[in-house]
């Protein structure tokens, strides 16, 4: 039982991280039907920028409380990522907005390669460690363990998710986003500044990426220039699983993918008597993804509806 509960916690935390990154993919897709493959790299940039600040502060002002140092890291990482997101949108996507859909997809991949190499030039190929500034509390529930950082990730993800849904449903910007998603031309005829709305979407998605990047590096204790690739791929899969373009779907898809991976890796070896080992965890996860898409091609919550952002 304690093992089961532990795998549940593992899966939920991992899934929350996926969900947070998946939100960025799904928001952009919802509004301009573009798969922003550079999103994983924005996450990586957020992590590395924050880590530089946190590392400098941890060394320079050792007396500072850890949460404050983390906040300072986020305070720089978020604007940097927002600026980066806006720049990518302006330079790589806006000129191609009326081009065939394959064109911006290719610039997206190009941007992601540029960002990876840029990060490699600035921070090097080395893994960078996350300084031990955060509280290291650990609690036991029925034999399973959960740490402060894990609790923070879970709580923060739920709060961000609720805030985002409220924003899309209740604010003027949210309404403009939904209108733009339904029809860019009609929205612009109704006086919606479509360019501003799309830029805002990129800005919000990039800010979320910064938060997710910091979370991931704090959780695993390291960051490096390649970390965005796999994370981006998993989060993108989560977004597709939940129904890309749908905010709730990104959350559901992320959590499901996290749980499937966790339980898959944990039990697949024992269930198959060692025939399939834990190296099949990704195979298992993607098998579930394919199975879902065969029966529901638009994802679990992928029906086109008013909730689309």
């Amino acid at each position: 039982m304690d093992i089961f509960l532990q795998q549940l916690i593992n899966g939920l935390v991992l899934g929350s991280v996926y969900a947070l990154v998946a939100l960025g993919y799904t928001m952009v897709y919802g509004i301009i039907e573009l798969i922003n493959f550079a999103h994983g790299e924005v996450t990586m940039m957020g992590a590395l920028v924050a880590l530089s600040v946190i590392g400098a502060l941890a060394l320079g002002m050792p007396g500072l409380p850890g949460v404050l140092i983390l906040a300072a890291g986020l305070a720089l990482a978020i604007p940097v990522c927002v600026a980066l997101g806006l720049l990518i949108e302006r330079v790589a996507y806006r000129p191609l907005r009326n081009a065939p859909r394959l064109a911006p997809l290719i610039t997206a991949i190009g941007v992601s390669i540029v960002l990876q190499n840029l990060a490699m030039l600035i921070w090097g190929k080395q893994y960078i460690s996350f300084p031990p500034v955060l509280p290291q509390g650990r609690y036991e529930i029925l034999g399973a363990h959960i740490t402060d950082v894990q609790i923070a990730i879970l709580v923060l993800t739920v709060l961000i998710m609720l805030g985002l849904i409220l924003m899309v449903q209740r604010t003027r910007l949210g309404r403009a986003m939904r209108a733009t998603a339904q029809s860019r031309q009609v929205a612009s005829l109704m006086g919606v500044d479509v360019n501003r709305v799309i830029a805002s979407t990129f800005a919000i998605g990039s800010a979320l990426a910064a938060v997710a990047g910091v979370m991931v590096s704090a959780y695993y204790g390291l960051a490096h220039y390649y970390m965005g690739f796999m994370l981006g791929l998993k989060a993108f899969s989560a977004a597709v699983l939940g129904g890309i373009g749908n905010l709730g779907g990104a959350m559901l898809g992320g959590l499901l993918l996290g749980l499937i991976e966790s339980f898959g890796a944990g039990y697949i070896g024992d269930l198959t008597g060692g025939f399939l080992g834990s190296h099949y965890q990704d195979v298992f996860a993607f098998f579930v993804l394919i199975a879902v898409l065969v029966f529901r091609p638009s994802g679990l919550l992928g029906a086109r509806g008013i909730e689309r952002a």
């Binding site: 093992i3 532990q6 795998q7 593992n10 899966g11 935390v13 991992l14 190929k125 080395q126 893994y127 460690s129 300084p131 031990p132 650990r138 036991e140 363990h145 740490t147 894990q150 695993y220 204790g221 390291l222 490096h224 390649y226 970390m227 796999m230 991976e261 966790s262 339980f263 898959g264 890796a265 944990g266 039990y267 070896g269 024992d270 060692g274 080992g277 834990s278 190296h279 965890q281």
Partner: protein, 386 residues
């Protein structure tokens, strides 16, 4: 291509000139012949510091041999080093290997990485050029049946068997969980450890896998925890080992952590922080200060090139082993002195060097280290059985 061969020609010209710059300026007239020895390691990229270290180790040996004078069968020889950069890349490794062969080297010291050494070894074998690697540890290097392939460092099978024995007999771990990163290195090592654990009377209670890109091990560690092992062995590199040991602590696991040379690095301690404390890992060979000629080598080397990075003593010994075989054969002809290499019985800086039928050293040493007070400290050195 022309640029390359021109550079090669220039390098040979320089080597000949430099060789002739000694007390006897006319090489031909004085009867001295220049003998080219190849050296290959990554001289650019992230491992450049290690590659340069190998080159310097080989150069130090060459300079000493030249200073003492080398006479084979009445003929005087001057050694010249031809150092090449393989960038730790398998493809580049084969290109530079072919280049060295074309230039007519008598033998090659290298390469540094297993991944680069293995593809290059076929080219040396096809051309009958003896090769001694100072640092490639993958088992596959000497099991391909290439009679030209030798190494002066303990291989992964030897290291794995020492690790397995150490875990069961010395650390008293009866229940062992094994994780590897599915690379040639990690998987090969983990398989050897598993065999040795069973042979020593322990039980492998879990065999889990990850990748050399992963950072999340919570699921497999939780599964391992359910089997209550005394020790977890990880075959892989420090970027995975560090988060793994952190996550072990997060899950409240009390099992010991044991790694190999991919983990026994300063970077591991940097990344894992306080959680690294108590972790164990091995590295082939002796710590430098425990080597028979370690202190003297350090003094000589550091006077010329600065700090020793890692494998320089092995590159140094590799040159001496090669020249030793030439002396016994009375010839620098690869075909002739290759026959003498298996009979090597040489006391070097790193230890006593003898080869088995495959070209591996016999009874190579493996040293175990533990993190104490934020530093790797030597626990003990074990002579491997095979």
């Amino acid at each position: 291509m022309t640029g390359h061969s021109l550079r090669g020609a220039l390098a040979i010209a320089c080597a000949v000139l430099m060789a002739g710059c000694g007390d006897k300026p006319q090489t031909e007239a004085s009867g001295e012949k220049t003998l080219l020895i190849g050296q290959v390691s990554p001289l650019t990229g992230p491992q450049a510091h290690l590659g340069k270290d190998n080159e310097n180790g080989a150069r130090l040996a060459l300079d000493e041999i030249n200073a003492a004078g080398l006479t084979l069968n009445g003929e005087k020889f001057v050694l010249a080093l031809r150092s090449e950069d393989d960038a730790a890349d398998p493809k580049t490794a084969t290109t530079v290997a072919q280049k060295l062969v074309d230039e007519g080297v008598a033998g090659v010291i290298g390469h540094l990485n297993s991944g680069a050494t293995i593809p290059a070894s076929k080219i040396y074998f096809d051309n009958g050029i003896p090769q001694i690697s100072p640092s490639a540890t993958a088992i596959a290097y000497t099991t391909a049946g290439f009679k030209t392939a030798y190494r002066v460092m303990t291989n992964d099978a030897q290291q794995g068997s020492v690790l397995g024995m150490f875990a069961v007999s010395k650390l008293g771990a009866k229940r062992v969980a094994i994780v590897d990163d599915r690379t040639a290195y990690g998987q090969g090592l983990a398989d050897e450890v598993a065999k040795a654990v069973t042979a020593a009377g322990g039980t492998v209670v879990a065999r889990e896998y990850t990748s050399d890109r992963a950072t999340d091990f919570m699921a497999i560690l939780t599964s391992i925890k359910g089997k209550s092992p005394d020790l977890i062995f990880f075959g892989g590199m420090d970027p995975q080992a560090a988060p793994m040991i952190k996550q072990m602590k997060q899950l409240g696991m009390t099992a010991k952590f044991l790694g190999a040379d991919g983990t026994q690095t300063p970077k591991f301690i940097e990344l894992a922080g306080a959680d690294a404390e108590g972790a164990l890992a091995s590295n082939p060979g002796l710590p430098l200060d425990a080597m028979p000629g370690g202190a003297a080598f350090r003094a000589k080397f550091e006077a010329k090139y600065g700090k020793i990075q890692n494998y320089a003593p092995y590159a140094y010994d590799a040159v001496y082993v090669m020249v030793d075989a030439m002396k016994r054969a009375g010839s620098s002809d690869p075909a002739k002195y290759l026959a003498e290499l298996p009979k090597t019985d040489y006391s070097g800086v790193t230890g006593h060097i003898r080869f088995d039928a495959k070209g591996d050293i016999t009874g190579g040493a493996v040293t175990l280290y533990q993190v104490k007070d934020g530093k790797w400290q030597t626990v003990e050195t074990v002579q491997s059985g095979n």
